[in-house]
Amino acid sequence: MGNASRLAIWQYITAIILIAVLTGHLIERFPPVTHQAYDKSLSMSTVYSRFRGAWGIGLLLLAYVALFHGLNGIRGMLYEWLPGRRREKIWDAIFWILFIAFASIATYTIIALPPLPK
């Protein structure tokens, strides 16, 4: 199996996970579900309770999977645009650096979340 095929398999696997988790994330802002206007449905307390509850882990999973899916898609395009063994290593390195950096930011968001002001 070539490198491009290996990347494509991961795109399909992450896409299946994304369909479920991203649908949940989008429904969180859907007015008939929140019973609030779109602009009003994003308050400090709402976001805090989402991050601190069990859904916080779901949102973290969403961030990891969406990051992997998106960056891997760009990596696949770069494989096509500028092919070659050495270049593929460069694209792989950029992919992992960006993935780890943004996944770390997402993790920090959940871990270091400050309490709500009183």
């Binding site: 399909y12 896409a15 299946i16 994304l18 369909i19 991203l22 989008l26 802002r29 859907f30 007015p31 008939p32 609030q36 206007a37 779109y38 602009d39 994003l42 400090m44 976001v47 805090y48 961030a63 969406a66 990051l67 998106g70 960056l71 898609g73 760009i74 395009m77 096509e80 645009w81 943004f102 930011i105 997402a106 920090y108 968001t109 959940i110 871990i111 270091a112 979340l113 400050p114 709500l116 002001p117």
Partner: protein, 165 residues
Amino acid sequence: MGEDEKEGTHGVVRTFRNMPGFWKASLNPWLIKVKNHPERLAFVLHRVTGAIILFYLLLHIIVTDIPAYNHSWYAWENIMKSFNNPANHIGEFIVAGCVFFHGLNGIRLLLTEFFGVCVGRPERPKPPYVAPTAKSCQRKLLYLVFILAAIFWVLSGLIIFGVWG
């Protein structure tokens, strides 16, 4: 994209010819020719919308980190208030359209490419050759993707611009 006709062992074989070059062939929706080949349009739109969504995702992760980074919710609330303007709503509307098309087309790709549904059976190439996939139900699925994405995009616009909800 043009068409070539070659004399093969089974008669004249028509083959599609892609425009040369990565950018022209895969990323620029205005340069590709999609007559009788809507899959090509979907292919390009899938990439363009994916790139837009990734850009939004990276910004979204950074903005969401503001309370943790500043150890305060007030900075986050101020930024959220500054985002509440028409220009930002237009941006959200564009991202919503990208998400709906990319997601629905992604489901179609999963069904056809990963699970092999709706792609038709392999057959002997008889002239004039039409690929079985072009005659199979995946094309109806593709038109359904375009229609549903447009409907969801309009509905999301009603929500984002405060008409509904």
